[in-house]
Symmetry: C2
Subunit: 307 residues, 2 copies
Amino acid sequence: MQDIRDIERIAVIGAGLIGSSWAALAMGHGLNVSAYDPAPGAEEKFRHTVERAREQLAALGLANTGQYQFTNDLDEALQGVDFVQENGPENESAKRALLSRLDAELPPEIIIASSTSALLRSTIVADCRNKRRVIVAHPFNPPHLVPLVEIVGEDEAIVDRAAAFYRSLDRRPVVLQREMPGHVANRLASALYREAVYLVEQGVASVAEIDAALCNGPGLRWALMGPHMTYHLGGGEGGIAGYLAHLGPSQVRRWQSLGTPSLDEDVQQRIIEGVAEEAAGRTIAQLEERRDEGLLALLRARKLVSE
Amino acid sequence: MQDIRDIERIAVIGAGLIGSSWAALAMGHGLNVSAYDPAPGAEEKFRHTVERAREQLAALGLANTGQYQFTNDLDEALQGVDFVQENGPENESAKRALLSRLDAELPPEIIIASSTSALLRSTIVADCRNKRRVIVAHPFNPPHLVPLVEIVGEDEAIVDRAAAFYRSLDRRPVVLQREMPGHVANRLASALYREAVYLVEQGVASVAEIDAALCNGPGLRWALMGPHMTYHLGGGEGGIAGYLAHLGPSQVRRWQSLGTPSLDEDVQQRIIEGVAEEAAGRTIAQLEERRDEGLLALLRARKLVSE
């Protein structure tokens, strides 16, 4: 059984935005990276994204002693690696074939983790011979800053080992007891977004104001605690039990009043115009820059607060 | 027309947790407060909550030069005030009667703002003669720390004036174009919570792990930007238009797969046990303390990030 302390070199298979961010995170923690991406121009983009991410990680005080090698040869990328993070396209048959090839080529003790956000583990491991060592480890964008990693696997020992590995990268693994399309976090996000789109559809508030309501209200609290704990504190002295006893029925009534909008052309157009208004001329790169600065500031702030 | 710069004294009608927090916020910004609450022991609790909140506001650098008077006589509380924040019980007929009495006793230029979270403005102003000056201004707990104030009114000039007043208290007003049960933010929270309960019901992850997934993933990002802007940055170079074009259909499929759990006794029990496990022996007071410390740290962090 491989010890996570022996992991010194990881392969990042698929080195786009997510893969680059994984690579920077690993190097920030002193690991070496074999990055593979066959797309034309991928190396240039990878280098650029990694440089920026490593600067951000340096600001968090990480050592950044890891090195990378970039290749468009998959066999070369897999030489001598101790862990594999796969970030290929979100296409079922492509992912299935890629994982099967990784599984065939790698020694059996190496964990192969897929960053898939939308596909089910059971589907994408179908063609692997050694399915147990293939897990889902889904990060949140950008993975070098957002701590969450959602893990789905079938072998408890392997899942535990992977969780320990991600903890060693200062991530917060969340282990699912069973697989579910969208895992946990994107399902929560999707449920919230459905209502956000409904409020746009119904003309209750503008896109920018709905966004502002979230990040100046519940979103701010949710950077500290999840929904159950939030209602525990919203229940007064009775806590969550008091909340459910007194306000459970009104919560259920609220659920019944939630919308089921259609994302038709008219609604899409209103969202696109609303976001343009909210962006107020700032480019995506500028907005990303601001998000990342904000995430760094929040992460530093959270570290100062005692557990 | 009253100028918000002339507001020097506000009445806080109903001085429980929300009212105390509003009072502390106003005093932090140099305003004087008339606090009214007829409940036995209310003054003692009010003093305690206000003291703690003022310490927190001092840590944010607020002047805290305001003073308060506490009374259990409503007429006395309304003498000489320039703005009224009502925080009575969330009971439709009680709220309706209280607002009608405030409306009858106050000069017509004074804005009466109700903190109601669950009631509709049209319902609670029904017995007021001067309905236009009665608005909903719903804060998020705790109001002296969480910036959001959701505003519902019918007179644009009055709504604008109230929004300017809340901005002068460093709040972020969000004006609704029309009333909606639960306003905006609690509907978003409720939509997310329905899915969180579904994931508990389906045994996908524990209560603590679902909470961790939110606050280490999307919740952290939502402290900085709302859902529309988040998908704008999730769409790559095509932004929200690219996101909707390419991933809109999968978002709609995800919506169709979201759960409609029942909050039955079994599920309630699992939530209560799960929260107890997550709280790990910490009392509600300790958890609140940590939340407030965390909010203060996040607010300071956000201030450092350029708009």
